[in-house]
Symmetry: C2
Subunit: 326 residues, 2 copies
Amino acid sequence: MGFDKKGSLISYRPDIKVMDCTIRDGGLVNDFYFEDDFVRELYHTCIKTGVDYMEFGYKASKAIFSDKEFGKWKFCTEADIRSIVGENNTDLKISIMADIDRTNFREDVIDRKDSVIDMIRVATYINQIPSAIEMINDFNAKGYETTVNIMALSHVNDHDLMEALELLSQTGVDVIYLVDSFGTFYPEQIRDMAERYLIVGDKAGKKIGIHAHNNQQLAFANTIEALTLGVSFIDSTVNSLGRGAGNCPTELLLSFLKNPKYNIEPLLVFIKEHIVKLKENGLVWGYDIPYLLTGILNRHPSSAINFIKEGKNDYTKFHEYLLDNG
Amino acid sequence: MGFDKKGSLISYRPDIKVMDCTIRDGGLVNDFYFEDDFVRELYHTCIKTGVDYMEFGYKASKAIFSDKEFGKWKFCTEADIRSIVGENNTDLKISIMADIDRTNFREDVIDRKDSVIDMIRVATYINQIPSAIEMINDFNAKGYETTVNIMALSHVNDHDLMEALELLSQTGVDVIYLVDSFGTFYPEQIRDMAERYLIVGDKAGKKIGIHAHNNQQLAFANTIEALTLGVSFIDSTVNSLGRGAGNCPTELLLSFLKNPKYNIEPLLVFIKEHIVKLKENGLVWGYDIPYLLTGILNRHPSSAINFIKEGKNDYTKFHEYLLDNG
């Protein structure tokens, strides 16, 4: 590999930051209808475990999405976040995510000095980079830390990616994320991608992040492989709670990281008290055959999500459907 | 890395052999009580998918273990295997496993020319190497292909391992296996271990195999990382069905391998018809918090298996128990 290994299995790298996205990515499983108690306990758990950032959800526009159809964490109003965190006088930073064209960011995002939010992450497809840059500039001007998350990376051609990275590296964005939306990459591909990001990032003084999905049971493996090369912002969700096959599990990530600030015990309590209950109440996420199939075929998980929701298990028929509808 | 990458993500390596251990490792979950129909359908599925070997179980001695307490695949009599495979006039090879001191191998293992079994795998701990060699010699003399599987590798010190590999490389054994019994290794450790095995194996003309466990959701990742360096015998089980957190899933492995001989479709049918039913009937295996904890602490999964069997979920108490009983 062209890149030297950063850090070791015994020591730790203080530059690594853990971002728990349980509410945001998990919200895609339950339309953001989390009980306040769940969100509040997760917030206190994140503080106690030493997680660096907690993402509360999306900043979607109520002019575009109905708050009758989605829970409050799709919209993340200042008041709703404050109802959980107060003034957030803690070391845990608060993040939200904004999608291109789904947010009324100029009006809905207030100045950071008046907000408890610390970071805004811009989720973008490759064909939306100029819009992403516009949002990044707005959020930076308002005083926020920012990241840009290039989604569906496995559908992006090399030339477009390199141009996007170049453009983004000229903005004030703090972190550029590698996002394996479809859970399709193998570790050697992730290492290759991470190197490209890191080369641009090192030159421009940007940190690199990773957001992985677990369609092929590789979310944790891909995450730590990227980390080993120098990626430093790591997305994870408690017990993988996230869209489709879910994400890199926070409990595995914290057990891997050796920084004494991280402590897995409060997370074990939270899983026992809250995650087990969600499962018992019928919320379904995590590795399953339909997600494996969309993963290996490099497809969006939506068809697999519907297949599972409908209680189907004719996997060969689903496979045929995917092959016929490329 | 000292070793060059073997093969690529687009081509395939004909030296790679897939060993489905579902009955053998899965038998550790249900005391080897599989219905004949399950075993027969799995046999036909292995043939149709192009899997290279199917392992039927252990060759345990009925003088040591009671056939009232264990199903027939703990003992793998010639008659029981033939009742499934007949003369096995197929390309699928039949394997069984023998533990040191748990098998009456001199009498119970007949000559290969009179058996439908093709391969016998010797499972050994590091302190049993001379006994393993005695068994390997006996099985080779009787005409079988053989492997030796050094279990609990994460408890073996480097000096002992290198001496064991040296001794084994002087026998007639065909394959030497790297076994992560406790699911404790990270990919970079697996790559390091695989290199040690491959250096000895290349010199002595032995193939190297890998058997992984999924305590940290790394069984598939560790398997393909080892494979990329030149490991060529790959253990897997359907949908991870195996002790504790289970194994590298056969369906993920076959979807990764590009050899046209492998075909995932029959496996999807088998999972739908048989694996889903096992789960509905209450058989429990696969990633769960207690296995994560034994994995990161490099412990045998038995205490986690009991904890889960008893329906407990006080993970912090279990963690404390593990820390107190090192």
